[in-house]
Structure formats: structure tokens, C-alpha cells
């Protein structure tokens, strides 16, 4: 793994590699199941969770629907409190602004709080290109950085590494970044955390510039909020003379009071705690306390394009809690790297293709990186209907349609690779319009069922490479209905057809044969 997302293979190829890595799968299964169980308990403590969730979604929706107003209000409040606000249309512009701001301080080293936005824009690489070294100070991000690796989870980015791998990375790499690992470093988490503490304290105590993201920005007051556990955030936010925060424009909430919703939703959904150990809020600068220069860089980088999609817009509600990753059967097996961006799991599958546009094989494959089981929607603390957006994006991939790219409305052409799917859907449409042909076709399929291959030839090969081809039943549902209840209709529109006495529930010739194929099928069509 190299430390950049450029040139990432499309999801199926990356996932095929990851699913063969048994250690990775074991690490991930342990992590995701532990967090999801703890989360369920933390959420169950609040009997008004459903109302909090609805309120969180509603506040975000309202804000997004008047985002221009709230951004202008935020800018005015931050400026009035002594901060400086910068606007960045894309990653390049954000990186240029931050590089310039760091250069103006005369420093060539910065300390960083873990930040999804700066991962997204590749800030560390951009700074390195300008001769500025950025030190990640979150323990997991440090592990990732020292290991020349990429984060694989939003909350616990180094979850794909186990303790002995981490010890090896620390022993091998710490010396070239600063204070070396202690002699005889063992692999207990406490020892490893202590090594990180000693290594990073050197950086904190001498840092002149800190770089962060933010979890929330309050439009009414100009306040920024960072939630964290280790205290590295507080170090970076308070010890340096200059603080630069790079924040996506969707992180704004209207009022101070709104934090009462999100500070209940986020910790319980994310780390499964009643509250994370540290939350810092600051408004501009404070004389004699903390950085005396504060810059806020407001980042677009595809967010306004996402906002323009009335179905996909809801992805911008995301508060980056990572609950959807921990319940996702696809993430659990494929791991975070396969998603090819800092946003893995179900949220990544809808966020990345929207932020970047359906621009290449990876982005086109991500809407398919899901079983559509709906677990991600169930746990989402701001009720993002991820399956709905996935289906919507699949439709864009296959059929094309109106999209906004770089602020310009355009019509997306259907992706190449999906011609067979479109042809198949056209054929299905024709068959449903011609009942006689449909009946004949189904009978033919039933009679030849013993001859069917387990893998499809031709254009169907890609589909059956990762799935078992469902077995065709000996008799079609229509024939069964005709034979057992049949009169003249044959269209099965009777109102009783869906009740428990209806077809297909017990005798089953109308359903596929084995439990495996039937669940496979259910997962596919839901």
C-alpha cells in the first residue's frame, strides 16, 4: 500500500485482494463487531434516540437548503471574532491556500489533528511538495503515516493493523521522524501508546503551526468544534501560535443550541461512549489563550455538485461517525482501502462518487459496493438513506442522466461496461410486454435447467464471477399458478396472492430451490 489514493483499482478488484487477506478480515471482524455491540448499548441508554436522530437530520437538511445564508453568517461571525476566512473551490486551491499560510509563518513543520477533509484533499502530500513536513498526531494516523499506509476506517484509521505490526512500524520508522522508539519496545497497547506519547510530545512542545478540521461550525456564533479522545487535538488547537482549520462547507449548523443534538448523536454513534474524552470549541481568537492567528479554509471540492443532486444531497448530512462502516457486511470483508478514498464503507460508496463525480472505473463501481441490506440506514444518526442514494447512483451509472460537475449542469453518458445490463433490461421489458413469449421462454428455461452453466458466458461473466447463478425452478410460478389455482387469468393479480395461503410460501416450486440462492437473490433485488 502506498500513501496515496491515486490510481486505486476499481472496487471489485481491490476487494478481491482484501477478502483473501485472512489477518485483515480477522482484525476487521473483531473491530466492527466490538464497536457495533458497544454502540447499540450506548444508544439504548437514550430513550429519545429516534427523536434526536430525526432532529439531527432535520437541522442538517434545513441548513443545507439555505447553505449560502449560513456560510455568509458563519464568515461574518468568525471574522468578527478575529479569525480570517478563506474559500477553496477544490483540493488544489485549498492546498495552495494552506501552503501559503504556513509559508507566511516562516515555519517548515506543522502538527495536525486527524481530519477527513485534509485527507480528502491530500494536504500532507501537497505540503511535502512545498518542503513542509506535516506530522499526524492522532495515534492511529501516526501509525498510518509512519507505515507509509492509508487509513482504512473513519474512526480507527489503523484498524487493519494489529499490535505486532504497529510495534514493527514504530521500531523501524520513528527515528527518521523524530524521537526514536524506546529500546526494547513491546507490543502491548499501553507500551505502544506511551511510545507515541513520547515521540509526539517533542512535536507538540515546539510546534508553531497547527492544522485541523472541525466536526461542526456554528453559523450564529462563528464557533468551531472538534471532538477527540487523546488530547492531541487539544495540543494542536491550543499550543501553536497559528491555527489553520480546513472544513467542508457542509459542517455548518445554524445555532449554538443545535450542538445539543449533535453532541449527543456523535459520540454514542461513533465511539459508543456517552461522551468522547475531549471536546474543544473556539470562536476566533482569545487574547492570551491559544493561537493568536486563526484561519478557516472553507472547502467545496465537490460539495456544491453533491448539493445539486436532490436525492444525493442527503449525503452531506454525514457527521463522520462511522457507524455505517461497522454494520456493513461488505466493509467487513473488503476492508477500507478497497473504497479508494478516505471515506470507506457505505457512506464512502455514496460520498466519493458524488464528490468526485462518476468520473472513472472506481467511482462507477462504488455504488455497487453494497448488498443494499439497509443496515447502514438503520444506524445512521442523521438518517441518511444510503441504499436510496446507492440505487440512484447505479441508475446514473447505467443510464446516465443530469448531473452537476464543477458547478456546471451537464448530462452524464451511460458508463461503458454496462451495455449488456441495459440490453438485458430492454429484453426483460420487451418480454414483460409479450406474455406469450415470456411464458415460452420460462418453459424453455425450466426444461433445460440441468444444462445451465454455473458461470455465465459472454457479457454475464462479470456478474457471475462473484455470484452463484440462481438455479432455475422446474416449473415457473405462472405455470404453477395455472396448474394449481388456474382459471383463465394467469396474471396473478388476485388480492389473496400476497397472503400466507398464497403461492410460493410452502410448496415452493415458484421460488428458487436452495436457501442459499434464495437469500442471494433477496440481497440482490431488495
Amino acid at each position: 500500500m502506498s500513501g496515496t489514493y491515486l490510481g486505486m483499482p476499481a472496487f471489485p478488484r481491490a476487494a478481491a485482494t482484501a477478502t483473501r487477506d485472512t489477518r485483515l478480515r480477522a482484525n476487521l471482524t473483531h473491530a466492527t463487531h466490538t464497536i457495533r455491540d458497544k454502540r447499540a448499548k450506548a444508544v439504548a441508554e437514550l430513550d429519545d434516540w429516534a427523536q434526536l436522530r430525526a432532529a439531527g437530520a432535520a437541522v442538517k437538511d434545513r441548513t443545507l437548503r439555505r447553505l449560502d445564508h449560513y456560510l455568509e453568517q458563519l464568515e461574518a461571525a468568525v471574522t468578527a471574532a478575529g479569525g480570517q476566512v478563506h474559500w477553496a473551490l477544490d483540493a488544489d486551491e485549498a492546498n495552495r491556500i494552506v501552503t501559503r499560510l504556513v509559508r507566511e509563518t516562516g515555519e517548515s513543520e506543522v502538527v495536525k489533528v486527524k481530519s477527513m477533509a485534509t485527507q480528502e484533499i491530500g494536504l500532507n502530500e501537497a505540503l511535502a511538495g512545498a518542503g513542509i513536513r506535516a506530522y499526524e498526531t492522532d495515534l492511529a494516523e501516526l501509525i498510518v503515516q509512519l507505515g507509509h499506509d492509508l487509513p482504512s476506517h473513519i474512526l480507527v484509521p489503523a484498524i487493519h493493523r494489529n499490535r505486532s505490526e504497529i510495534r514493527d512500524i514504530f521500531r523501524r520508522e520513528m527515528a527518521s521522524w523524530g524521537r526514536p522508539a524506546p529500546e526494547g519496545l513491546g507490543d502491548s497497547p499501553a507500551e505502544l501508546a506511551e511510545a507515541a506519547r513520547l515521540h509526539l510530545r517533542e512535536k507538540f512542545l515546539s510546534a508553531k503551526v497547527g492544522i485541523s478540521g472541525a466536526n461542526f461550525m456554528v453559523a450564529e456564533t462563528g464557533t468551531l468544534v472538534v471532538v477527540e479522545s487523546e488530547g492531541n487535538g487539544r495540543m494542536c488547537l491550543t499550543l501553536p501560535e497559528t491555527l489553520i482549520s480546513v472544513v467542508g462547507i457542509e459542517k455548518v449548523v445554524p445555532s449554538w443550541q443545535d450542538l445539543e443534538i449533535f453532541l449527543q448523536l456523535l459520540p454514542r454513534s461513533s465511539t459508543a461512549e456517552r461522551m468522547n474524552p475531549y471536546t474543544s470549541t473556539w470562536t476566533g481568537t482569545t487574547d492570551g489563550d491559544g493561537p493568536q492567528t486563526f484561519h478557516l479554509v472553507l472547502l467545496d471540492n465537490g460539495r456544491t455538485d453533491t448539493l445539486a443532486d436532490t436525492v444525493g444531497r442527503q449525503a452531506l448530512r454525514c457527521i463522520r461517525c462511522s457507524a455505517c462502516l461497522n454494520v456493513c457486511p461488505v466493509y467487513e470483508r473488503a476492508g477500507g482501502h478497497a473504497y479508494g478514498s478516505p471515506y470507506p464503507g457505505p457512506i464512502g460508496a455514496i460520498l466519493t462518487p458524488q464528490l468526485r463525480g462518476l468520473a472513472g472505473p472506481l467511482e462507477e463501481s462504488l455504488p455497487y459496493a453494497s448488498s443494499l441490506c439497509g443496515a447502514c440506514y438503520e444506524v445512521c444518526p442523521v438518517a441518511i438513506d444510503i441504499p436510496e442514494v446507492l440505487v440512484h447512483l447505479r441508475e446514473r451509472v447505467v443510464q446516465g442522466g443530469p448531473v452537476t460537475l464543477g458547478g456546471t449542469r451537464t448530462v452524464l453518458q451511460p458508463a461503458k461496461g454496462h451495455a449488456a445490463e441495459r440490453a438485458a433490461m430492454r429484453a426483460v421489458g420487451w418480454a414483460f410486454d409479450h406474455p406469450g413469449a415470456l411464458r415460452a421462454g420460462m418453459r424453455l428455461a425450466a426444461r433445460t435447467r440441468r444444462l445451465h452453466p454455473r458461470r455465465l458466458p459472454g457479457p454475464g461473466r462479470a456478474w457471475s464471477r462473484t455470484r452463484d447463478v440462481p438455479e432455475v425452478p422446474a416449473e415457473s410460478f405462472r405455470d404453477w399458478w395455472q396448474r394449481t389455482r388456474g382459471t383463465s387469468s394467469g396474471r396473478g393479480t388476485s388480492s389473496e396472492s400476497g397472503t400466507s395461503s398464497g403461492p410460493g410460501t410452502s410448496s415452493g416450486p415458484g421460488t428458487t430451490s436452495g436457501p442459499d440462492t434464495s437469500s442471494e437473490r433477496r440481497g440482490d433485488v431488495k
Binding site: 482484525n27 473491530a31 464497536i35 441508554e45 429519545d48 430525526a54 432532529a55 432535520a58 437538511d61 434545513r62 437548503r65 439555505r66 447553505l67 449560502d68 445564508h69 456560510l71 474559500w87 477553496a88 473551490l89 486551491e93 492522532d138 492511529a140 501509525i143 484509521p157 489503523a158 499490535r163 499501553a190 501508546a193 506519547r197 507538540f204 512542545l205 456564533t221 479522545s229 488530547g231 492531541n232 487539544r234 488547537l237 491550543t238 499550543l239 449554538w256 450542538l259 445539543e260 443534538i261 456517552r274 461522551m275 474524552p277 475531549y278 471536546t279 474543544s280 470562536t283 482569545t286 492570551g288 489563550d289 491559544g290 472553507l298 456544491t304 455538485d305 445539486a308 452537476t404 458547478g407
Partner: protein, 238 residues
């Protein structure tokens, strides 16, 4: 066109489907309503029960909780500093001087000119707090005179925090927010610094203080309490 204007223009274009009158300042239509049907506090408790819940939740996240009254406070602080072998303790400028009457460790003043390296040499820090939240086991520091700059409760490895009970304790997050001012820098602390980044094993103390001790200070006899309240009001906290 500046990036600012381009971004705002893109936002407005992206929101072409939103009715013009919707949102703040709009006439009539308010957009999707925000139903604040969630609870202000979870469960009915007496003030004493709220304080007990705070103690329980602080301990859950491995803060060490002590209880005392005004009379016992200086002795308790002296004992806790001695038990840790602290030789120096940081004190904010507005801290009640009586709190440190029972200790002979060196008092280090919180100064803007102190460097981070100087703070790193101090063993402990003693502060008050602004508000504590029982449901989450959270202390909120608002950089008031008895709490000092944000960094003093961060760099030393041992933090002693005094909470006046029951008056500084609220039940829930919604009850806490109106009691702190957003224009002040705030630090919310729930247990000592911790990480779960390595195989999800929780380890206390990575970069912040590894030990958090909380002293729940209950009201002293009637005559003293009046004096104490006067001091509190005088510090301009609320």
C-alpha cells in the same frame, strides 16, 4: 469572480429546487421543520441523585472521584498532591486561595508568557470548572478565572478538578449548553485522555493528563456558604 463568489453562486444554483421564501428571513415558509421533541433531560432525579450519577459516570471513564466539603477541601488537596509525589502545581489566577492552604508544594502561576516546555515540567494542575454534566460524566471548563488557559489542564500529567455540588451540576447536554458562553474557548472533559486505536484496547493517557481526579465539593455550613456564593458571583461566571 472570487472563489467565495463562485462557491456561493454554485450553492444557489444547486438549490434551485428550494422555494425562494424558505429558510431564515423567508416569508411564511420555514422549510423542513425541526421537531425538537427530544428530551431536555433523561429521567427525573433529585439534585443529589444527579450528583451521584455524575460521580458514577466520571468513575465509569476512569476518573477518580472524591467528595468533601469546604472544611475538608484544603486537606484533601494536600493529601492528593502528596500521594502523587507532586512537587509543583499549576494554579489559575482566580482560584480560591484557601484551596491550596493545606499543601506545601510549589504553586506555579498560569502566565501567558509561560512556554509549553515550562508547563511540561509541572507535575499537577488544580482548577475549578464551569459546569458538569451528569448523564455523560463531563466537566466543562470555560477558561474562567478559576480554570485558567486551556493548555494548563492539558500539558501536566495530573489534573485535579473541583466541582461545586450541586450548583455546578446539570443533568444533560441540553441543560449544559445555555450555561456556557460560546464566545469563550471551552474544553469538555470526560475522563482522562484515552485511545482505543490499537486493536480497540482502551489505553488511558496518550497526550492529555493520564490521571483525572474530580473533587465534588459540597456546600459548607450556612455561614460559609454565603461567603462562597458571593465569591462565585464575583468571579463573573454567569
Amino acid at each position: 469572480m472570487s472563489s467565495r463568489d463562485m462557491m456561493l453562486a454554485r450553492v444557489r444554483q444547486a438549490l434551485a429546487d428550494v422555494p425562494a421564501g424558505e429558510g431564515p428571513g423567508g416569508e411564511g415558509r420555514d422549510g423542513p421543520p425541526v421537531a425538537r421533541g427530544y428530551q431536555r433531560v433523561h429521567g427525573a432525579r433529585t439534585r443529589a441523585q444527579t450528583v451521584d450519577l455524575l460521580a458514577e459516570h466520571l468513575a465509569d471513564y476512569r476518573a477518580i472521584v472524591h467528595r468533601t466539603d469546604a472544611e475538608g477541601l484544603p486537606g484533601l488537596i494536600g493529601r492528593l498532591l502528596a500521594e502523587r509525589g507532586a512537587r509543583s502545581v499549576l494554579v489559575p489566577p482566580g482560584l480560591d486561595v484557601s484551596w491550596t492552604a493545606g499543601t506545601d508544594v510549589t504553586l506555579v502561576e498560569d502566565r501567558a508568557s509561560s512556554t509549553a516546555r515550562e508547563l511540561d515540567l509541572v507535575d499537577s494542575v488544580l482548577t475549578g470548572c464551569a459546569v458538569a454534566i451528569a448523564e455523560t460524566g463531563t466537566l466543562i471548563l470555560d477558561a474562567g478565572p478559576d480554570q485558567g488557559r486551556r493548555r494548563i489542564t492539558l500539558v501536566p500529567d495530573h489534573h485535579l478538578c473541583v466541582v461545586r455540588v450541586p450548583e455546578q451540576v446539570v443533568g444533560s447536554v441540553p441543560e449544559a449548553l445555555p450555561r456556557v458562553a460560546p464566545d469563550r474557548p471551552l474544553t469538555w472533559i470526560s475522563g482522562p485522555s484515552a485511545t482505543s486505536d490499537i486493536e480497540l484496547d482502551r489505553v488511558e493517557g496518550v497526550h492529555g493528563p493520564r490521571t483525572l481526579e474530580v473533587i465534588l465539593l459540597s456546600a459548607a455550613p450556612e455561614t460559609d456558604r454565603a461567603g462562597s456564593r458571593e465569591h462565585w458571583a464575583g468571579s463573573g461566571e454567569y
